[in-house]
């Protein structure tokens, strides 16, 4: 009987704790989103963007991402020229 009471207590405490933690997940998630929207202002990259030489923006993004991965973030795309 004691074990059963303890098991019922665990049901109550366990479910409440899990709900509280996942409520915290939503609160933390929302707060981080709100704070980053309000206070994070990344440097404008348009001026730093390499000359695309007529390559469209999506392809340029793919090239930059590929260079990023291959060079572990150390490589920089200076310019892209179309031949």
């Amino acid at each position: 009987m004691d074990s059963l009471n303890q098991a019922l207590g665990l049901l109550l405490i366990g479910m409440i704790t899990v709900f509280i933690v996942l409520w915290l997940v939503t609160v933390i998630g929302t707060s981080v989103i709100e704070l980053s929207n309000r206070f994070y202002h990344p440097k404008a990259k348009d001026n730093d963007a390499p000359p695309t030489g007529g390559v469209d923006k999506e392809k340029m993004a793919v090239i930059v991402a590929a260079v990023n991965v291959l060079t572990n973030g150390k490589g920089v795309v200076d310019s892209v020229e179309k031949k």
Partner: protein
């Protein structure tokens, strides 16, 4: 001549073969068959199946021995070197890596490095259904107590309902290590059966109209309140803040949740920590999986596995799994009663862990009823929160019963 033959017989393992060993071989072959040919969780069922085979080689002494045998008269444990010398390499691995609770958090780190919190951050409300889906853990705990399991054993059995192998193993190591083999087998077998269990429970509890609830249309009618302008920043800050707060709130969940979120952080930072993320999700996780599978399998000697408790674990684990799926579905159905923005109850069904298989299965099920109803990213939200939920549930059980 007879003496020579009996000497040879004693030298080989044939003399020690009994029906229990043969039955364990059959179980090992079934696990290997499921892993190799049916492709059910092969990364785990193959090492576990082979571990079972190794543990039941007559005369080889490769099975994991009871912890009373590796204790000194003063109650302390033997050194690892003594364990290796006396009981072999698998016991050395078990007592070094499993008994210490080392491997499950390491696997969680790899899982974190493979997890994307993006879908959850885009649909934060759906995270609550990861809580509803933990109900199977605690209800089966009560049921198991009623049929005679002790509380720590019942908790280890109930945690199967979290559908998270490392969490089930970690909880069992802490609460009822003598049940590790059958609980690990049940947990991973039912995870492999997610494509069968979720449709089964969903069809029992959901109407056709509920299967057709179109999540994107609902999003268009009731758009989310928060727009995420800087996803990368959010993804980096989220695991740090969440890890800190959850670990303070439920410290016993910190080894699992902390490592999950650390793994996720090194993935989200990007190229600067890409090597760490690659190591965590690749070589480290793979090595941990091999040792975990083999040693868990090796706990299943015929003396330990072939008893009524194992049958109770197999049945109880199935119930826990089904109840968790049902809990998630019913949670959504209750929510839908009070909300204008309806949610497809399949999103609740994926509130148990089993990432990402549960989400894929739910998505395919929704597509059967409406070919344009792609719910994968919504399911991933509750699915990922289910990983956190089951780790927290494990933390609660360990802190009260450990």
């Amino acid at each position: 001549m007879n003496e020579i033959l009996s000497g040879i017989l004693e030298m080989t393992g044939f003399a020690q073969i009994d029906w229990g060993i043969v039955l364990m071989w059959v179980i090992a072959f079934v696990l290997l068959y499921l892993g190799i040919f049916k492709e059910y969780e092969p990364l785990l069922l193959v090492p576990i199946g082979f571990g079972v085979l190794l543990a039941n080689l007559p005369g080889a002494g490769m099975g994991i021995v009871d912890n009373t045998l590796v204790m000194n008269p003063d109650g302390s444990y033997m050194t690892l070197i003594d364990i290796a010398n006396n009981y072999g390499i698998l016991n050395f691995l078990y007592y070094a890596l499993i008994k210490t609770g080392f491997l499950p958090p390491i696997i969680f780190m790899g899982v974190g490095a493979l997890t994307d919190f993006g879908p959850m951050l885009r649909n934060l409300k759906l995270a609550y259904f990861g809580a509803a889906a933990q109900v199977g853990i605690f209800t089966v705990l009560i049921g198991a107590v009623l049929v005679g399991f002790t509380l720590p054993e019942a908790a280890s059995l109930g945690i199967i309902g979290g559908a998270d192998g490392p969490t089930a193993i970690y909880t069992t190591i802490k609460l009822a290590p003598h049940l590790l083999g059958p609980i690990a087998i049940a947990a991973y077998s039912y995870m492999a059966l997610v494509p069968v269990i979720i449709p089964l429970v969903a069809k029992l509890l959901m109407t056709k109209n509920e299967f057709k609830i179109h999540m994107r249309k609902m999003d268009r009618e009731y758009p989310p309140k928060h727009e995420i302008k800087h996803m990368r920043v959010v993804k980096i800050a989220f695991p740090i803040v969440l890890g800190l707060i959850v670990s303070v709130l439920v410290p016993s969940a910190a080894p699992l949740v902390g490592m999950l979120l650390f793994g996720n952080l090194i993935k989200e930072i990007g190229p600067n920590t890409a090597r760490l993320a690659d190591a965590a999700s690749g070589p480290i996780m793979n090595t941990a999986t091999i040792f975990l599978g083999l040693t868990v399998g090796a706990t299943m000697t015929s003396e330990v596995f072939l008893n009524l408790q194992t049958i109770g674990i197999i049945v109880g684990g199935f119930l826990a799994f089904c109840l968790s799926v049902a809990g998630g579905i019913l949670g959504v159905k209750i929510y839908n009663q009070f909300s204008k923005k309806k949610i497809n109850p399949l999103v609740g069904a994926t509130g148990l862990s089993a990432v990402p298989m549960a989400s894929r299965v739910a998505n395919e099920l929704a597509l059967k009823y409406d070919k344009s109803n792609h719910i994968l990213q919504y399911c991933m939200s509750s699915n990922v929160s289910g990983v956190i939920g089951s780790a927290v549930a494990a933390g609660v059980l360990i802190s009260f019963l450990g």
